[in-house]
């Protein structure tokens, strides 16, 4: 793998999971949604979009998406394999160290199995 690919891969994964972590932070700040009436949901969405982290999250997810498109224009789709599989592990580390989530052994095992399964699905 050439340096250009490695850098793009890192950007796709880090911006992608970083964006999702920022969106998660936003929604924790909004607080647990307890009722699902449409007018209540609209208020929740409105509140989320007034939090800076939401915009940071969307910006990072957009960067990740367009880097992926860019990479796909010069590499074939096999590059998507490490991206999708690694994201689960990186995401779990992000949840632990950036959001303070507690990941017990059973959850780690689950994450690793999901990661392996995604690898199999992509090469299958």
């Amino acid at each position: 793998m050439i340096a250009r690919d490695a850098i793009s891969l890192a950007v796709i994964i880090l911006a992608g999971t970083g964006g999702e972590l920022a969106v998660t932070r936003t929604m924790k700040q909004v607080g647990e949604v307890k009722t699902f009436y449409p007018h209540h949901l609209l208020r929740v969405i409105g509140r989320a979009f007034r939090i800076g982290w939401m915009w940071l999250g969307l910006a990072l997810m957009t960067i990740s998406f367009f880097s992926l498109l860019m990479v796909l224009s010069w590499e074939n789709v096999t590059l998507v394999v490490p991206v999708t599989a690694l994201s689960y592990v990186i995401g779990a580390f992000g949840g632990k160290f950036l959001l303070g989530e507690h990941i017990e052994m059973r959850r780690w095992l689950g994450v690793v199995l999901v990661c392996l399964g995604v690898l199999l699905v992509c090469i299958g």
Binding site: V23, E32, L41, I45, S87, G95, V114, V118, L120, V121
Partner: protein, 138 residues
Amino acid sequence: MSFRHRLHGKTIFLIALMAVFGALGDVLLRKGMEQVGAVSSLHPAALLSTFERTFRSGPIWLGISSLLLFFLAYLLVLSWADYSYVQPASATGYLFVAVLGYLLLGEVVPRMRWVGVLVICLGVLLVGGTPPRTTEEG
């Protein structure tokens, strides 16, 4: 009903919605783009015509609506559940993509892919056995 059970119920419900709408969106977009046809040239006129055909396609709009519902369910579930719970659990979407691709698009799903889907489901079962929320409220 205990606090933990209440969270488990609505978490599983929303993750199921995410998996179904995510997969449906994916399959509909693919079906739509199949109808639109491959992008044959990067000439502006050709791109414009592809763009126009894309946005006149029913499946494309259904796919986009599906993905919006997916994102709504995603936001809602993250208002209480851990990211490290939701992210792996939503990989159940791969199961629905395989099943929908097989049933709706008539795709042949290789055996290796079914094995992968099975391994994902085992992983999701393990993650699903942990409490959805491990951080403090507020």
